[in-house]
Symmetry: C2
Subunit: 216 residues, 2 copies
DNA sequence: GAGAACAAAATTGTTGACAATCTTGTTGGA
DNA sequence: TCCAACAAGATTGTCAACAATTTTGTTCTC
């Protein structure tokens, strides 16, 4: 257990604990369902228990941590059914963002999407699933960003945080990149065409595909 | 300032503070942008400051409270643009729920919706906007409930909490009930017809109308 | 050997006090 | 009069100790 010491650089203790603990969970350093004992975390991050507590409360409402009265906290495990339900919500919310982006995005931003599309095609052709996965994320991020829909972006970030584990599993599945590439290109195309309805439909088709893949 | 005393009935102090503070905000007892000083709240609810703190952190991530480092908390004010953005998200999420409900609801549940519809028509005919507003809420609640989509329900509850003030304002606008009644009846009708696409479209039409009303 | 009652350990919940930070009001000088 | 520096007050952030609760291990009885 490495003791990450960097307590008093002016950075608030609670923020320190919050950022590091969130990253640890998202990065997969904490096993699923692992117990999170406040004392241990406090020592590990070099802050007091109160700060860890505050961080855990916040992570609970982000859906990353599960807390039970007098029983402690643990990394929340997302079942496949939950992952499906989450992705259904993503489907409609990202659909909204894509529709907005098709109207709001600047010409410059549309070019960025095109570039991402060609890079993704290249990654698939070259057989680089990890690169493709990274570009995949970036594409979804950009569309959200270009939509200007702050509320939806906030909700989606929270939802995506809960899916890290499942997404990793999905990215490395053989044949999956090939299947999703055309869907992604269709999304880009309809946004470029400034057609909000087509953009929303394309995003939905894509994420419906993701749901099918999750269920297998 | 009434001192609500009921500290140690076995109920956890933090939960006590959380429930009461949330209700106070939702019920409108706290003025918008009102400062929330931890010490005052602690005394008012008969709990310690730490419990109030924990409650405030949770309410912040629910979007009901705004917290600034070393500067304190206040009731968050939702601008009209934010209310519109929130309602756009409601539009797609409730659309999802309605589509699910059209497939999943039992015959008994469909009858409940029909009853609500007739009650709403009666309230409008009788010129009772407050009754109509209550039934309005109940209809939306039921549709969400019948959808079985836990994740979407959770997101929607959070979003709705932020709209209390705007919704009150909207409900009492003259002519508004008449306009929305037919939209609500269309929603019920398409769910009864077990047509998910029509149900989603009806919900979207309705909430698009709400957005128009908000913008005025 | 199985199960209940009890005791010990581990962990979370709570408390009050202290430190750090920000805001506000005041004073001094140009 | 205006502005900067400073001091006082208010408020949040942090800490260590204590209380309450749950879990675990042990012993005793049947």
């Amino acid at each position: 257990m490495p003791k990450e010491a960097r307590p008093g650089t002016g950075e608030q203790a609670k923020q320190h604990a919050l950022v590091h603990l969130r990253q640890a969970i998202l990065h997969g350093d904490m096993a699923p369902a692992q117990r999170l004992v406040e004392n241990e975390l406090a020592e590990q991050f070099g802050v007091t228990r109160a700060s860890v507590r505050a961080a855990l409360i916040e992570l609970e409402s982000e859906g990353l941590v599960e807390r039970i009265r007098n029983r402690g906290s643990r990394v929340r495990v997302v079942t496949v059914e939950e992952a499906v339900a989450i992705t259904e919500c993503r489907m409609v919310l990202e659909g909204l963002c894509a529709a907005k982006a098709a109207v709001e995005a600047s010409e410059d931003q549309l070019d960025q999407l095109t570039d991402l599309g060609t890079a993704m095609a290249k990654a698939v052709a070259g057989g680089e699933p990890l690169v493709y996965s990274r570009l995949n994320h970036e594409l979804h991020d950009r569309i959200r960003e270009f939509s200007g829909q702050q509320v939806a972006v906030g909700l989606l970030e929270r939802l995506n945080g809960q899916l890290v584990r499942h997404r990793f599993q999905l990215a490395l599945r053989p044949g999956r990149p090939q299947q999703s590439l055309s869907e992604h290109l269709a999304m880009i195309e309809s946004i470029r065409a400034r057609d909000p309805q087509a953009a929303e439909a394309a995003v939905r088709t894509h994420l419906a595909g993701v749901i099918d893949a999750l269920r297998q």
